[in-house]
């Protein structure tokens, strides 16, 4: 019972006193060398000796240490990312070995010599160079640009291409562009992009663009526009006829039969203006039947001929007395019937 308890106690306190194993991280830098570091959790307390093994080769000791506070924290060495890469950190009797997959652990240097040209086609052309030893068809790029310090726009550039075009740039705008790159998928895609290159800026010579991005005329235009809007509102409110022309009223029909003029919500004065200020006498119209002379003679012996009469509107007549006979010889339809019988 006692040895079991002692063993349990040792197992519990053992890890407290055990040395923490360093974690080695390796990265292929610009496809030129492999850089391994073990200071991710802080500067190590002891100076480790670093060994590396590439593929089936022998173990090799580090020739070029990286140091921090006089302690070894990393090592740079040549290598091939397609081969198995093993590292070993030794201090005293402690031996920490790790295997690495480096094919995708590549970080290229950022593109250099980023230049801009205003092409003869009135487009903006950006060019850059690579510094990695990889062939052009193995490196793809990504571009980000912004106009007048707005948000960045991103765009991918295919492998092998070292230029980018912005179509028909505005002469009053400011363009800023940066590029970054990585190894293409057909050559073993790297999971890390390079850092962004130094930015390049283009602005037309004739532009008056400034960093505050506001022209002095802009607030003046805003004030003039506001005053114009207020004046227009006042004119519309006080001139009803103008308002009706500009903003015609839509009639609002109701289920009850009202006077159709009440649908239009005009003011009384406007209604009166539409009423005529003159009186026109209506011309009474009567219908008369044509009776031939022979029929009239056989009926009552009188000889009178009648024709279809048209009212003579030139005669002044009271419009109220429309039933008064008109001075002519009309024959009503009843007299015609008697004649025919």
């Amino acid at each position: 019972m006692m040895p079991a308890r002692l063993l349990l106690l040792l197992c519990l306190i053992g890890p407290v006193f055990a040395e923490k194993s360093p974690d080695v991280d390796c990265l292929v830098v610009n496809l030129e060398y492999i850089s391994c570091t073990w200071n991710k959790t802080g500067t190590p307390e002891v100076n480790y000796t670093f060994y590396s093994k590439l593929g089936n080769d022998q173990w090799k000791i580090c020739n070029h240490y990286l140091t921090e506070n006089n302690m070894n924290i990393g090592c740079n060495q040549p290598g091939d990312r397609f081969k198995t890469f093993k590292t070993r950190l030794i201090y005293g009797n402690n031996n920490f070995e790790k295997s690495h997959e480096l094919k995708k652990q590549v970080k290229l240097n950022p593109p250099t010599n980023l230049t801009v040209l205003n092409g003869s086609d009135f487009n903006l052309w950006f060019y850059w160079n690579y510094t990695s030893p990889a062939p052009l068809h193995c490196v793809e790029s990504e571009v980000r640009f912004r106009t007048n310090n707005n948000n960045w726009d991103f765009s991918k550039v295919s492998a092998g291409i070292q230029k980018y075009c912005i179509n028909l740039p505005s002469s009053s705008s400011r363009y800023e562009l940066q590029v970054r790159n990585r190894v293409d998928d057909t050559c073993g895609e790297s999971i890390f992009w390079s850092d962004w290159s130094e930015p390049v800026v283009w602005a037309s010579n004739n532009s008056t663009y400034s960093d505050d991005s506001m022209s002095p005329w802009t607030p003046v235009m805003y004030v003039v526009g506001a005053i114009t809007l207020i004046l227009l509102a006042m004119i519309l409110l006080h001139h009803e006829r103008l308002r009706i022309i500009l903003v015609p009223v839509v009639p609002k029909p109701s289920p009850f039969l009202h006077n159709i003029e009440d649908w239009f919500q005009f003011s009384k004065g406007l209604k009166d203006n539409f009423k005529p200020n003159y009186n026109e006498r209506a011309c009474p119209v009567r219908e008369y039947n044509y009776v031939s002379q022979s029929d009239v003679v056989s009926s009552d012996g009188s000889t009178c001929s009648v024709t279809t009469d048209q009212t003579d509107c030139s005669i002044e007549q009271d419009p109220e007395d429309l039933s008064a006979p008109i001075p002519s010889n009309p024959v009503s339809s009843e007299e015609v019937q008697k004649a025919s019988v």
Binding site: P133, P135, T186
Partner: protein, 149 residues
């Protein structure tokens, strides 16, 4: 006669220059077909003889042959992508593109296909992909810097 020889020599030199982009395109085609086949992989637990990850330069062609024959043995050429991939791996341009060996080094030390341990199909395709990605031009660039160190 001299003019004819000169013209033939010029044509030969031009063909050499043109071959490099063709090899590169062929290898890109192989990678594309490989990606499609990986996507449609029916049985991911299948174990296949797989060449090692660390292949010596002069054993690359032997490894390519092993990959090709193992594919034929397990997948045949009935499927659309299987057939295309097999043909691409058997193409002269692919073989030339993966020929990293100079004539001075012997290829007798390369292991046979059946002596390679069996790995999962996913690991098989990953190693084939890595082999193809080691294109000749890329190897040349990196070799120069390796010698420098």
């Amino acid at each position: 006669m001299k003019l004819i020889v000169f013209c033939l020599f010029t044509v030969y030199c031009c063909s050499l220059v043109k071959a490099s982009p063709l090899e590169r395109k062929k290898l890109q085609e192989v990678l594309r077909e490989l990606k499609m086949l990986k996507r449609d992989l029916p049985n991911t637990e299948l174990m296949m003889n797989t060449p090692p990850k660390d292949i010596e330069d002069c054993c690359c062609l032997t490894a390519l042959t092993c990959f090709r024959e193992t594919l034929l043995e397990h997948f045949g050429i009935s499927g659309k992508y299987q057939k295309k991939l097999y043909k691409s791996l058997n193409h002269t341009l692919t073989i030339n593109g993966l020929n990293f060996c100079n004539t001075e080094t012997s290829t007798n030390n390369c292991s046979t296909c059946h002596s390679h341990p069996k790995e999962k199909a996913s690991e098989f395709f990953n190693r084939l992909e890595s082999l193809v990605q080691r294109v000749r031009l890329f190897q040349i660039y990196f070799r120069k810097l390796y010698i420098k160190y």
